[in-house]
Symmetry: D2
Subunit: 346 residues, 4 copies
């Protein structure tokens, strides 16, 4: 492993510390690695060491290149300084992706508390977006004003361009109320973004990895809290794929929960999305029973429920044979999707 610290902004004391693992050699089938940028918390008054190195280790064990961003705090915390620090760091990482043996489309951020605010801002409003975000007991609502009056709340910025998120927090957090997490997942749900969320029954704010070398054993904290570490690695595997002899495997989990933002339409699009395309409507009308099409297009409550379901779900309920489903898909795959989000452009 190589370790280096890069000064991003001397005046504001902003640094990026890199832990870079080897590729090739005995790691025969590894030519590149995914990466993660750690953004420690500290109420925009400090960057906590408890949420820096101890967090780096499990991702290094999992084979990730790891970066720790120490961003603008205290007198330098005025927005958008911290977000600019993030942008600069992410731009640097992607620019050096080849040299540092990194997949530039498999870079996650993980932030805690106020650092979770910055990670959330990166996920929703940055120019140089991460590909996944892990938000630990993060400040995501107006509550951020209590530590930085100039910082914006993140939740209103959630939209279809937000990256997949993994959120964890404690129900009994007395510093950053759990409602920050709850409202964030509500926004992600509405925007159709993939996410995973774990809210543990009790435990104080700022538990980090909950290893006894980081969080005192004498603290009352629920024993499941520590599970977020391995669970987040397992989730990243679902989002980025896993190391395999022919490069990373295909991810199990898409960034969006349905096909509404793919390049072409598909059976994984919602009925609402399909109804928005005259070509798709024409195709469906020529093959679907008229009663079904009517119920899709009516304005009652049941049809609004259908609207959010995908075509493949509905075909499944109707026990449609696999080959017929495949025919639907083949036809839809010819129709360009006007809602397409090109992830590579981000």
């Amino acid at each position: 492993m190589k370790m280096k610290t890069i000064v991003l902004n001397e005046e504001r004391n902003v640094t990026l510390t890199a832990y870079l693992l080897e590729v090739g050699g005995e790691f025969t089938y590894i030519t590149k690695r995914p990466a993660i940028m750690i953004i420690p918390g500290g109420g925009y008054e400090m960057c906590s060491d408890r949420e820096a190195d101890p967090v780096a280790m499990p991702y290094l064990k999992a084979g990730y290149q790891v970066f720790i961003l120490r961003y603008s705090v205290k007198e330098h915390k005025t927005w958008p300084n911290p977000l600019n620090d993030y942008e600069e760091a992410m731009t640097l990482i992607r620019k050096n992706a080849d040299e540092w043996h990194i997949y530039e489309d498999k870079i996650a951020v993980i932030g805690f508390s106020a650092g979770g605010h910055l990670a959330g801002a990166a996920a929703t409003m940055s120019k140089n977006r991460p590909n996944a975000a892990i938000l630990g007991y993060a400040v995501l609502s107006q509550d951020v004003k209590f530590c930085s009056i100039t910082a914006p709340d993140v939740i209103p910025y959630v939209d279809k361009n937000t990256c997949p998120c993994f959120l964890f927090s404690s129900r009994s957090d007395n510093i950053v109320p759990v409602m920050n997490t709850v409202k964030m997942i509500e926004a992600l749900t509405e925007a159709g973004i993939s996410y995973e969320s774990h809210i543990y029954a009790y435990g104080i704010h700022g538990f980090s990895t909950n290893d006894p070398s980081v969080q005192s054993r004498e603290t009352v904290i629920c024993e499941r809290v520590k599970n977020w570490v391995d669970d987040s690695i397992s989730w990243l595997k679902d989002i980025f794929g896993e190391f395999g002899v022919n490069g990373m495997t295909k991810p199990e989990c898409e960034a969006h929960v349905n096909g509404d933002y793919g390049e072409y339409l598909s059976i994984n699009c919602t009925i609402n999305c399909l109804l928005d395309s005259p070509q798709a409507v024409a195709m469906l009308e020529s093959t679907m029973p008229e009663t079904i099409m009517n119920s899709f297009q009516s304005e009652d409550e049941q049809s609004s429920y259908y609207g959010m379901m995908t075509l493949v779900d509905i075909l499944g309920f109707a026990n449609t044979p696999r080959n017929v489903i495949d025919q639907y898909n083949a036809q839809l795959n010819k129709i360009p999707n006007k809602h397409y989000i090109d992830k590579k452009m981000k």
Copy 2:
């Protein structure tokens, strides 16, 4: 183990199957056991076997007495038939608590999908409340109308009398949208109720325990899904306590996240709760710095943030010595709490 099936309502085909473990004998220190009532799903059209016996086993392993409720479905599903079935079952269990060696204040329900709706109704609107509820990919919103037009949505009934809840579901559930879980935890947060919540990244509706003998391995489903089983047992231990040589140990997690509903006031009450008691206000005014009391009582945003924090949190931020904190608590413990909820009455 003894096994028996009791017919609760012959006409509506309602039964309660009991799996009763022994006490005493070689289980020297066990005189009673906590219990759990399983409420399988099935869209109020059936009671699924996949969410009955396979769910019973892990709780039996953990030492719980287990009951499976097969409630009114199909032509008998009209509300409140299913809720009445639950009431009858719970009344019967509590009535036989001594004979069946059950702690009558340590009885949980676990429900799945439509059964999760019934478990949620039990937790929020029944006369004979459970002491904890586990809600698996549960229908909790107006979405229930799609399987039973007469059934009420559960979420509006959440209040300070709701029992602690453990919720789990899949982000990509295409039958019962994850928003059911999200809105439920939002309501629980607002009501001050303890809960734990796990939303897994992807997986189809109705995965039950996700054992390969219940849910086909060929299904695409995220590997963390199965964790809810052990996590729910660990959570029940936090809520009910654990088997010990002198009976069940003291629970680690209270039913409410703060002391606002205790018999007497305490440092675990929120500022809002304390301000609601003239005696407490007088006590605080005689000991607290005036500026602090003013900030508690002003109407700006910051004070509303303080209002939801507990006194012990605020004293902690101010690095108040332990003995002073204890003095505050001793004084508050003499003041009866008008919001007191007597759990034994339920």
Copy 3:
């Protein structure tokens, strides 16, 4: 689930309790299940309830049909009474395999302490062998004489017909010394039998599942002890295969660690085994470099090391191309193996 208790021998108070899960119905792809027979411990003076029902539950959760054998103890313990009880029970289970929906070649035994002695006897000297054996802090050596003077020690009976074993015990066991487990795995190693073994650092004898409802939390016992339960289920999956939509999947782990007992020779046979077949020797001599063949057949220490290695290992060290390895295998597959063990005959 159905539950029934069958009296095997009224005079000696021998019973077999069956917990039988359903097949078909909503368990659409399940037509049969593997099974496990639990043999509780108790020093041949009793059959402990602590090692009966609590052990049944995790295997039921995993989808197994479960039987509990209460065998001859106290005045009836004279050997071979207990072994005869086992034989009768296993014969009955295999006879009823169809009616009880059991794969007759996927039936395990699990025994604890003295019950582990009986399970070990079943695995090594019974007529109606189990297909796998789990031996928990089992008495396997001459130590058995201290609880039953007529019972034989198991270890000398280990041979190539012994079924695969999973063993666990505590290093600090003060009743059944850990050497029982150590000597057993030595014998299994020598006999070429597959096994898995977990010896935990400390913990008293007789911890069963180590659930707090079975083993008092107040006992000093290492926290890893409880892992044997899930690990044994994972191991059974490797030995028996897993539930799949087309029946049980192919096992990952063979009963023997090499191919020495297959119907035909293969590259998975040890050099010693191949050298024992004139046809194989002729084949090898015609293709292998002479120096290699000589080193196989010499009598020095290095060749004895080679003798225990398989041909595929040695070809692998020599970086033999895959297609050449496959040719070796194809040729060997034509030669009948005189050491063949027909598992179906057992």
Copy 4:
């Protein structure tokens, strides 16, 4: 974290790489840390990168100072070069214990394959002993001759001064036969040393942490193999204690399984050990029933079984009241033990 590489022997290319975590600061209650020295494998021909950095990470996460020893291989492998490298490294670490914030009596080694041979040699024959040893698919028998003809086999050196060991390997290892592990735990059992051992059912040699970034997912390897990592950390906690606000907690597991090597006699001594002290014999004779003393001192098989049991075990079987047991202990605690091993001297 600081990282430095120290050249121990330039000619033989021996280095010690240190990963040193901070103490104090936000890690308020941490003034020192336990440490672990990693000894990679490679058949004494190389030091494998696959068993270096990837192994460091989990122990760093757990709060350990970590060192990687790259020792004499290839033309420099002649014994005792590698052992001398170890001695020099351990001496350096203990000498710098204060500066590097290390508990000098809480330093473990972990070695793999041939590195496991060196770790085993450190545990049994070095001058500057480790306090615990983790031996991964280690070469411990005469098999070592196949990679280094001058290297001694470790097993004959196991004695009462050997440190506690944690061993893991695969039953189907085709490079280092599992018998290496089996014979080692047999020797540890005979010597009364604490250990833990996990032999997994199948998997190739050299799996390291079995993370997919280290060991290809395409390899057939049993899924339990990866458990050794967390289990070894849990075991080290039992042997060294855990981080607590007042320093490391008291270990749960002693280095010896009984009290035979303590400074004074105790009820945890075996009967054999007590019978070896005339003072203890006199004490026992004055309080024990004569029949019991006789059975201890006779020469039949049963008494040899008693001889290996501890006094507290036997008093426990006889349901001796706690206060009487305490009296025995108090009396024995006054008698110096001639077999005493002063761990601090090592």
